[in-house]
Each structure stands twice: as structure tokens, then as C-alpha cells.
């Protein structure tokens, strides 16, 4: 190695003033564009802020915030939704403790959001002191979960198992309850609504359609003709039909074929439609990942004597799925927003609840802008965190990528 006599140091980063001159005012066209852009942004922000704080009438939201969250879920049974939420926030805290920086921003944001919501001064009778206290417990539980995740020897797989248990317990036991039970009386899904339904359909849709889609993608490449042709026809049939049509088929036509007493719950029927639809798209996205794996990988695994099942599960799928994380998450974000379509089969999701609120009082009719903006904000927050989670996942799994 030749060592140069002069030790060179990296150039200093430019001062803010230099940066501004170089990037925003380098020539007169850029200067003009900068001034124009700043003006537009300034007026947009100022006008939106004055509208939101002075002109806008947020009463459709403040009058019935619980409607947006849980719909008509009986208020005397509301504690069940509360317990579900506490379980989730606690697990968010534990995930933060175990997976550290990958979950940290999400956990902190959730804690702050719930804390702010608890103390926000809204003059409304529906947000009782009990609800405010409940909201405050959530950030505390997040912190508690974090400490437990940090201090106890909890492994990532334990937390994942807990998530699975909780995510099954909430929609199958806690919220629906049982007929003839005094502790958890039956609450039919006809009164469920709002964000609860939106989350149920999208989390359920994502969690169930993913393994289904992966199996279809593998089936499409199978050497067994029956498996292969079933997969291809399922994928192509479902992808060739709009989601609305599938939802109608499941909610109307399926009911026609089944006897009245064995009728499947309408939310489950909608969920089935969503799962079928999403699985077909997942399958095609995963297939893209499978095709990107060089054939040498499979050959090397075969040459070692590995069985096909092991080749697929240990060599091909881990690499293929890592490649398609961005596409799959993109697909799940659109699935999350597409769940609003269940409104047309009579299920009141978040958007449906907003429409219902607008019809509550005659003076609400002109307040569509406020309601839809509020709903859009909620959708945006969730979607943003899904794409954020996708980036974190890529980073966590990207170690040693070629």
C-alpha cells in the first residue's frame, strides 16, 4: 500500500446559508421556483389551518366519537373492546422491548397519540372521565410492556405467539361473546362497526390471505397437474373479477345456497371475500419473488439431498418473500383501504359509520368535508405506519443480502 503524505479529511458539510444558496437559489429559474413554491405552501397551510380551527365544524366527530371506533357495539359491553385494546397496547410495548428500534417509533407514537386524546379538551358529554382514564392507561401499559420485554428473558417467538393468541381471542371470543353467558353475553356482528370492523377485516384479511396466497403461488409452480390447474384457475378467476362483485357474491349468493339456520355471519362472509381476493394478488406477487431465485439455489439444495419441502421452506421461500416485501405491503395497504367497499353490502366500517353519522342530524349534512377529512386522516395514519413497518422489516431482514 502506498501511503500518501497528506492526510486528507472529508470536506466539511456546507453551512445552512451555503446549502440554501446552492440548492434553492442556484440560478434565477430555481430562485423563482423556490419563491413560488414557498408562497403556495404558505397559503395552503395558513388557509387549511384557519379553516380547520375557525370555520370548520367538527361536531359530527365530537358528538359521537365512539361511533367511529366501535359502531353500535352496546355501550354497557364496551369494556370488552377496552380490554382488547389494552391487550394490544401491552403487546405493542412488549414488541418494543424485544425488537427495540424497529418498533420503538410506532410504540412511542401510539403512546403519545392516546395520551393526547385522553387529555384533549373537547366539550362533549360522550367522552366521559372513565374513557379518559382508560385512554391514559394505554400509554402506561405500553411502557410496562416495554420494561417487561426488556427485563425478562422474553424471546421474539414468545411475543409473536402472544400476538397470535390475542389476535384470535379478540375477534372470536372477547368481542362476540357467547349466547347464555352472563360475563360475555352474545353481541351480534350486526351492531359492530367503525374502526373496529375496518381493522378486523383488514388484519383478518392480511393474516389469512398471506399463507393462502403463498400456497397458491407454490401451487402454480407445482409439477402436480391438479394442484397446478386449481391454483391457476383460482388466481385468474378471482383476479378477473372486481372486489365489489366478490363481496356481493359472498354476501348475497352464498346466503342463497345455504339453509337459513346454517347461515355464516355476514362479517365472516365479507372477510372470506376479502381473503379470496387478496390471496389471488398475493399469489402473483409471491410468484414474482419465486421466479427471481436463481435455479442454482434449488440445484445446490437438491445436490445436498434436501427434500422438496425443505428446499421450498428453507431455501426458496425465505429469499423470495424477502424480495417481495415492498410489493406485498403495498398490496396490503390497498387492501386496508379497499375494505371500505364492504359499506355496499351493509356493513358499517369506518367510512360507512361516517356516512351514517352524516345522516344523524339534518345540520350534519353540509359537514361532509369535516367527516371525510377525519376519516382520511385515520386511514392515512394506519397506511403510513404500514409502509413504515415495511421499511423496518426490510432493514431487519436485509442483513447479508447479496
Amino acid at each position: 500500500m502506498i501511503v500518501t503524505s497528506k492526510e486528507s479529511t472529508p470536506p466539511l458539510p456546507p453551512s445552512p446559508l451555503e446549502w440554501v444558496r446552492k440548492n434553492l437559489f442556484s440560478n434565477w429559474i430555481n430562485a423563482l421556483l423556490t419563491i413560488l413554491g414557498v408562497t403556495v405552501v404558505y397559503f395552503a397551510v395558513v388557509n387549511l389551518a384557519t379553516w380547520a380551527l375557525k370555520t370548520a365544524d367538527w361536531s359530527p366527530i365530537t358528538a359521537a366519537p365512539l361511533l367511529y371506533l366501535v359502531g353500535q357495539y352496546p355501550r354497557e359491553e364496551l369494556w370488552r373492546a377496552g380490554v382488547s385494546m389494552l391487550m394490544i397496547t401491552f403487546l405493542v410495548g412488549m414488541s418494543w422491548g424485544v425488537w427495540k428500534r424497529y418498533v420503538r417509533p410506532f410504540a412511542i407514537f401510539l403512546a403519545i397519540l392516546l395520551g393526547v386524546l385522553a387529555i384533549i379538551p373537547l366539550e362533549t358529554s360522550t367522552i366521559t372521565l372513565a374513557i379518559r382514564v382508560f385512554m391514559l392507561i394505554n400509554p402506561i401499559l405500553i411502557y410496562l410492556g416495554y420494561r417487561i420485554g426488556r427485563l425478562l428473558p422474553v424471546h421474539g417467538s414468545h411475543v409473536a405467539a402472544l400476538w397470535l393468541i390475542v389476535l384470535l381471542l379478540i375477534p372470536l371470543v372477547i368481542l362476540p361473546g357467547f349466547t347464555n353467558s352472563s360475563l360475555l353475553p352474545k353481541v351480534p356482528t350486526t351492531v359492530w362497526g367503525g374502526l373496529l370492523i375496518t381493522l378486523l377485516l383488514s388484519v383478518g384479511g392480511i393474516v389469512l390471505s398471506f399463507p393462502f396466497g403463498v400456497l397458491l403461488a407454490l401451487g402454480r409452480r407445482s409439477s402436480l397437474p391438479v394442484v397446478k390447474w386449481f391454483s391457476i384457475s383460482f388466481i385468474e378467476l378471482v383476479r378477473g373479477v372486481p372486489l365489489v362483485t366478490i363481496l356481493f357474491m359472498f354476501s348475497v349468493i352464498l346466503a342463497l345456497f345455504l339453509p337459513t339456520e346454517s347461515r355464516i355471519d355476514r362479517v365472516i362472509r365479507a372477510l372470506m371475500g376479502i381473503v379470496f381476493f387478496s390471496a389471488a394478488y398475493t399469489a402473483e406477487n409471491v410468484r414474482g419473488g419465486l421466479q427471481a431465485i436463481p435455479p442454482g439455489q434449488v440445484e445446490a439444495a437438491k445436490a445436498l439431498g434436501l427434500k422438496n419441502l425443505h428446499i421450498t421452506s428453507l431455501i426458496v421461500l425465505p429469499q423470495a418473500l424477502r424480495l417481495v416485501i415492498p410489493t406485498i405491503v403495498g398490496q396490503f395497504i390497498s387492501l386496508f383501504k379497499d375494505t371500505t367497499l364492504v359499506y355496499i353490502v351493509g356493513i358499517n366500517d369506518l367510512l360507512g359509520m361516517g356516512n351514517a353519522v352524516l345522516k344523524l342530524k339534518p345540520e350534519f349534512v353540509r359537514l361532509q368535508m369535516e367527516v371525510y377529512l377525519f376519516i382520511a386522516l385515520i386511514f392515512w395514519i394506519f397506511s403510513y405506519f404500514m409502509s413504515y413497518a415495511s421499511l423496518q422489516l426490510e432493514e431487519a431482514l436485509g442483513v447479508g443480502e447479496r
Binding site: A300, A301, A303, L304, G305, H310, V399, E401
Partner: protein, 262 residues
């Protein structure tokens, strides 16, 4: 080293050593209408080192890939250590676990560490405990000279190091036969030697090896027999001495003069 134990086994077992471990008779292979192998016959005894060379497209890679059934032959017979290769999947998996293979492009698993690459098959095919598999893997990494790279991912290694890991990965299954498919062709010149050194060591330890290569120095040093392939047939075979000093066929002479000029 536990890997040597097996080759010593093979060496001491002199009675068995006279029996060919690989028998290929009249092997034919078509890719659609293109005939890649036109009746290849070869017998390899325990501990023999065979070098196969020839122009590209001559069928030499295809032939060694039929031996562990990465390619299916359509006519003829292949018997590996007494097991005939047929459509029986169980037989194929058994034969494959007895044959190690090293590829031109290494084909390491990029999502696994070096150690995981090596222990994968012993754990899932041989059902060894993780501890035992890792112990053997570390011995093998020692043997190929890169124990300090165990926790790295393949993408962080040089080509020569990757190929040495690939050799260790194949050896971890304690195979009776090792196949090398142009193991140095994808390497930068300065890394060829480190891989060839490992292969020479392996040959001297008594491993049965079939090597497709144009590294004639390697052939001279350790090969027992050499086969010259062209257009899907064996044109000529013999000891390295015969092939280098007194080739019988014009095609062999021409090819040797082309590759030895460099």
C-alpha cells in the same frame, strides 16, 4: 478430523475398493431435439480422481450432473455405490446425500451465514444435532482455511472464499463422491490457487472425485485418469501421462494445444 475418518474407511476397505463406485453405461441425454450425451460409459473406483475436459457444449457438465440426477438421463444405466438411478425419489435423495457437488457459480445460500450454509443439510437430512453439525462445520472451515468467516454471509466473502465454503458445505454431508463442475472458472486468477490447493488436499486424502476443469496443472498433479469429451461423446481417455505426452486423437491434440498455449 471426522471427515477424514470416512475416507480412511474407504481406503482400508480394499476389497470394496476394487468394485467401481460409479458405473455409467451407454448414457444418453436429450434436451428437446439436441442430443447432449451420445452414449457415455465410465467406471470409477473408490478413491479415484477423474478429470473431464473438453470444449464448451461437449456434454461434460451435463454428464456429471446426471450422476446426482440434476439432469435426468433418458437411456442407459447409472449405478452409484450399488444404487441404480431411476424415478424412485427415495433412491435419488439417498444417492444425492452420498454425492457432494461444487458448482461454477458457488450457489451458496445468500440468506444464511457461512456456518448455517454448512450445517443446513447435516441437520435436516442427516438429522444431526445442531451442536454436532456446528462442530463438524468448524473443523471443515479449518480445513479449507477460513474458520474466522463462520458468522459472515456469503455476500461478504471473496469468490475464492465462497468456493471454499461451498466445498466445506458439500463435505459436511460426509459424501463418498465429490463432483466439481468447473469450480475455478468463475474466479479471479489470484483466487484460483487457494481453491485448487483445497482440492489437491482432498484428492490426496483419498476422496473419489470427478472434476470438470481446464486446470491442467491440477490434472497433472492428482488425476488418475482423464477423459476428453467432444460433442456428447468420450473422444479419448487415459492417464495424464498418456493424454499430455501421447494423445491419440487429432481433436484431443488440437484442443490441448489451444488451452496449453495460454
Amino acid at each position: 478430523m471426522s471427515v477424514n475418518a470416512r475416507s480412511e474407511d474407504a481406503m482400508s476397505d480394499q476389497v470394496k475398493a476394487d468394485q467401481p463406485i460409479i458405473i455409467a453405461r451407454d448414457v444418453h441425454k436429450w434436451f428437446d431435439n439436441f442430443q447432449a450425451l451420445k452414449g457415455i460409459s465410465m467406471e470409477v473406483k473408490h478413491g479415484e480422481v477423474i478429470v473431464i475436459f473438453g470444449p464448451s457444449g461437449s456434454g461434460k457438465s451435463t454428464f456429471i450432473r446426471t450422476l446426482n440426477r440434476l439432469e435426468e438421463h433418458q437411456r442407459g444405466t447409472i449405478i452409484i455405490d450399488g444404487i441404480e438411478l431411476s424415478h424412485d425419489v427415495r433412491n435419488i435423495e439417498r444417492v444425492r446425500s452420498e454425492i457432494g457437488m461444487v458448482f461454477q457459480q458457488f450457489n451458496l445460500f445468500p440468506h444464511l451465514t457461512v456456518l448455517q450454509n454448512i450445517t443446513l443439510a447435516p441437520i435436516w437430512v442427516r438429522k444431526w444435532s445442531k451442536e454436532k453439525a456446528e462442530e463438524v462445520a468448524m473443523q471443515l472451515l479449518e480445513r479449507v482455511g477460513i474458520p474466522e468467516q463462520a458468522q459472515k454471509f456469503p455476500g461478504q466473502l471473496s469468490g475464492g472464499q465462497q468456493q471454499r465454503v461451498a466445498i466445506a458445505r458439500a463435505l459436511a454431508m460426509q459424501p463418498k463422491i465429490m463432483l466439481f463442475d468447473e469450480p475455478t472458472s468463475a474466479l479471479d486468477p489470484e483466487m484460483i490457487k487457494e481453491v485448487l490447493d483445497v482440492m489437491v488436499g482432498l484428492a490426496r486424502s483419498g476422496m473419489t472425485m470427478l472434476v470438470v476443469t481446464h486446470e491442467m496443472g491440477f490434472a497433472r498433479a492428482v488425476a488418475h485418469r482423464m477423459y476428453f469429451f467432444d460433442e456428447g461423446t468420450i473422444v479419448e481417455s487415459g492417464t495424464p501421462d498418456q493424454i499430455f505426452k501421447n494423445p491419440q486423437e487429432n481433436r484431443t491434440k488440437l484442443f490441448l494445444s489451444q488451452i496449453l498455449e495460454h
